[in-house]
């Protein structure tokens, strides 16, 4: 295990319009680890994810990405760091005016000096990784929700990121598609040693994909540990959340 963590936040604070959304978050993600951030809607977990990848500028504290504190950096200065991170958005956020091929090739065409043939090969390979074939010519509106998420993941993986951040990867999916996405995350972690942060309120999904879970409530981490440790946590809010989540799953 490397000494420098892949990602780290120190006393991370994010406030907007007088409302403090994150209240001093300390989180550490090691290389090769899949870390889950669990919490109810509005608990601040997506805001935490956006601070981790530099899409939001924290109002306090530090965010370290591969040994660089990105919190004080400007939008322009944060650009190179983003090439080392892949982000899979909640609703995939595919460019709806571009085909699947153009979406996956988007970053490669702008940041890598590659021939069209090499780009085509990478796009095909990434789509194969996520289990999609013969969809290059389709537009996002012609895909199902599960397929869109997988294309979003292929687009994130195209740039060979060191770390991939997932925002609610299974939300809005049926159990079969959700299971496939979970297996994909686990497989990528195992085969590519991919470091991942998964933000979700889907307890079942987090329990089967992550090595470490942090439970966020009202902008603070109230419990963290292995999935087993979280399952047996005595914190009343964790217990209440798990109970509600398992009732919902049934």
């Amino acid at each position: 295990m490397s000494k420098t963590p892949a990602l780290e936040t120190r006393q991370l604070v994010y406030a907007v319009d007088g409302k403090t959304i994150l209240k001093g978050i300390d989180l550490r993600v090691e290389y090769g680890e899949v870390v889950g951030i669990m919490g109810a809607s509005g608990s601040g977990k997506t805001t935490l994810l956006k601070c981790l990848c530099g899409l939001l500028k924290p109002t306090g504290g530090e965010v370290w990405v591969e040994g660089v504190n990105i919190a004080p950096l400007s939008e322009r200065e944060r650009m190179p760091m983003r090439l080392r991170l892949g982000i899979v958005f909640q609703y995939a956020a595919l460019f709806d005016f571009l085909t699947v091929y153009q979406n996956v090739a988007f970053g490669l065409e702008r940041h890598r000096r590659l021939s069209q043939q090499q780009i085509r090969a990478i796009v095909r390979e990434r789509l194969e990784w996520v289990g999609l074939e013969n969809v290059e010519h389709l537009y996002p509106s012609q895909l199902s929700g599960g397929m869109r998420k997988r294309v979003g993941l292929a687009r994130a993986l195209a740039m060979d990121p060191h770390i991939v951040l997932f925002d609610e990867p299974t939300s809005g999916l049926d159990p079969v598609n959700a299971y496939q996405i979970d297996r994909l995350i686990t497989r990528l972690n195992r085969e590519l040693n991919l470091t991942a942060v998964v933000v979700s309120h889907d307890v079942v999904s987090l329990m089967r994909t992550t090595h470490h879970i942090a439970m966020v409530d009202a902008g603070q981490i109230i419990a963290e540990g292995t999935p087993d440790a979280i399952r047996h946590s005595e914190h009343p809010k964790v217990q209440a959340f798990l109970k509600m989540a398992s009732a919902e799953a049934l």
Binding site: K19, I21, S74, P80, R82, F89, L94, R110
Partner: protein
Amino acid sequence: MREELVWLDEEVRRPTNPLQASLEFVGALGLLLFASGRALLQGRIEVRETLHQMAFIGAASAPIVALTSAFTGAVVTLYSASLLVDVGGGGFVGGAIALAMTRELAPILTGIMVTARCGSAIAAQLGTMKITEQVDALRALAVSPIQYLVIPRVLAALAMFPLLCMIANFSGVGGGWVVANAFGISANSFLQSIRLLTEPFDLIGGLIKTLVFALIVTLVSCQQGLGTRGGAAGVGHATTRAVVLSMVLIFAANYFLADLLFATR
């Protein structure tokens, strides 16, 4: 300079106080103008996207600009010819309509029609991209939304507005000529008066105006689109605001440009 202030976070409340809202608009527009200028000087141009926008703003707008200008030229001639012919000034109708079209009507009609057709579409598209996180996805792929979304639209508008204005000039004068004919004004007399009353700077001044209008329409529409907050309703509000603000600014800028370019001539 904080570029991200152009695409404010969804959590940031829209100001309810009109003064605060005006200041936010002016500030965001200034930031966008500055960031666009800097990106244009430093970065690469998205050629494919710029060509696509040129087709959308220019080629696709040409028929509607031609049609509205032709009818405007016709109606202005209808009034001016009926007055001038009565007092024996029928020989000035062509010049009067050409002067009105080149200096005022063609640039304004171009600005208004492109605002209605493209300004609204730009705000709606960028607003939808903002609320569906496509703008964040661009940033996540280390692509500046200003570089990819704003610059191509600004460049396309700067290239196409003068061409559209020329189309408006020809259509407006053509429409006027058809009506002048009905008043018994010969083609020769119509053209003669255009040569007599207008000079090249009337045309050039009008084209200069369209460059300012191009900047207004694209920057206001992009700013409103990128600043969208509040889901689908927010996109609707952004679109309405883009059209209204662009038109108001076009009329205001037109007065100052007319004063600057033509008042002393």
